[in-house]
Symmetry: C2
Subunit: 344 residues, 2 copies
Amino acid sequence: MNKTLKLCFIGFGNVGQKFSRLLLEKEEWLKSRFSCRVIVTGIAGRSKGSLVNTGGLDLTAVLSMTEQAGHFDPDSPDFFTGTPEALMDASEADVLVEMSTLSIRDGLPAADYMRYAFRHGMHVITANKGPEAWYYNELKDLAADNGVQFLYETIVLDGTPTFNLMTETLHGNALSGIAGILNGTSNYVLKLLEEGRSYEEAIRAAQEIGLAEADPSMDIDGWDGAAKICAMANILMDAHITPEDVSVESVRSVTAEALKRARSRGKCIKYICRAKRAGDKVLASVRPEELPREHAYNSVNGTSAVFTLYTDLAGELTVIQTDPGLLQTAYGIYSDLITLMKRI
Amino acid sequence: MNKTLKLCFIGFGNVGQKFSRLLLEKEEWLKSRFSCRVIVTGIAGRSKGSLVNTGGLDLTAVLSMTEQAGHFDPDSPDFFTGTPEALMDASEADVLVEMSTLSIRDGLPAADYMRYAFRHGMHVITANKGPEAWYYNELKDLAADNGVQFLYETIVLDGTPTFNLMTETLHGNALSGIAGILNGTSNYVLKLLEEGRSYEEAIRAAQEIGLAEADPSMDIDGWDGAAKICAMANILMDAHITPEDVSVESVRSVTAEALKRARSRGKCIKYICRAKRAGDKVLASVRPEELPREHAYNSVNGTSAVFTLYTDLAGELTVIQTDPGLLQTAYGIYSDLITLMKRI
């Protein structure tokens, strides 16, 4: 019972805070399940400052300080000034929990933090899909070369088993394809368009419920979907592609008129991500597609998401995640932590 | 590379034969993946006779004999006369693959074969949901007491990860409920009723495509669904219930008129199995329920099936299996074999 697992966080936004709360709640369970104490020895916030304590930060105090002041107290004895790399060193952590700001366009700086962690013998759990979309094979090899784990369950559909579904349960299957509605904002916007709202109104509504970013073009123009299908294809189908290889059509190409016409013919239009094996290549796309109105994908609305795996032995499997929130994202990271503790 | 895993089959119907073909196809893969040769040393057919060869039966020859003659050759040197229990002994097997005729009403004789196997130190993989519905906790304890594995992935939704989904990927989650369309025949019959066919016509059509048994009452009156939700609740929610505890309403209670009325109000009627935690009990039911027409369950037709898990951390997850066939059932058993080989 004197084993200790030290975590270092990069990023302490909504997800990092929710994950911290989950850790506090599950502290005793983890201790009794794995005979191991999990502590957080470093946190690098973007605008909040950074904290280090190799004996373990007081998470409850850190959370209440963050809630009250919006940043860490520069007078705290744990306050740390330095780069995230310096913080990783100072924290003496076993695991980097990488939750930095999303970086779809190039996977940076998240991928650089992960490279640094791997080279310094740290396991990595990431909530960032950019690195897997852009550099999956390099990062996977780097982790293997350094004998450490590389986990990323939460990057698609949060805590819903996606990558674990394949590696832990669908053993022996080969995938011929993947499909899915992977971006909530564009899906939500389509629904509102169908109900007669304009693009501008729909995007504003998506922003109001916290779905869309201030700049919604990443979602609406398909880049978020492209990064996600890319990460899935790289991880599950050994695709060796980047978002630049994905054929992307913006959801803006769908008119209210087209939605009405589809509806009158018993159809619906959904914004679908696909990856498909074609010879020794994997072709990926993100585009509006017409489906029968009673298709399972037509039941996927709001923040819900869905993916389908086309397997050779288990057949066609569809997984729907209904109305996820922040807890589900935090659970994805927590689930990786359990996977890690089971493996090491 | 001189490890050998010996399997003994009870039952050699469609599923057993398909599983044998899959074993032959995957022989080399299993050998290279686990450095272990998998052989079949005993087969107890119901009407085909039985075979034993502790050095390994020639599965290719057994399959072609079965195809040509419909039974095993009594003049074969491997031909065996005796009870399934005597065959388990004679086969010197490490694993019982239990595929005997379905026994929903009492789980017998399948449960007895499994008890015998556990007591004699054999792992058990079963395709039979009866034993898990009636005697799950007793069998689980018996397996644990004898230090052997007890696996049953294929009993609900064939090879679709159901039990493995929970144990291998949704670590740390508690379930508050399960729902699902778990019986294909009754679901198919409802669909045809909605299209204006009579019950008799619908049942005959389900029989013609091989969905319904000669006596379809097990499906139509909800007992198959009751056994499945019972097995799921016992295994995943520690429910300690039997099919007698399930509140069952036959799908016959749904009239064509009720289906039409539901449709006119933008609804549909589906035959739903449920288990729900209520205090320290788990309440289970199988009955027709009205759902919105755009509900994911309304896209589940033909032989397709679906289940939903209500979890505390990962949220609400729905898994749809689309158009499964015999390969998917065989894969469920094969997937258990891989789980077993990973664990031992």
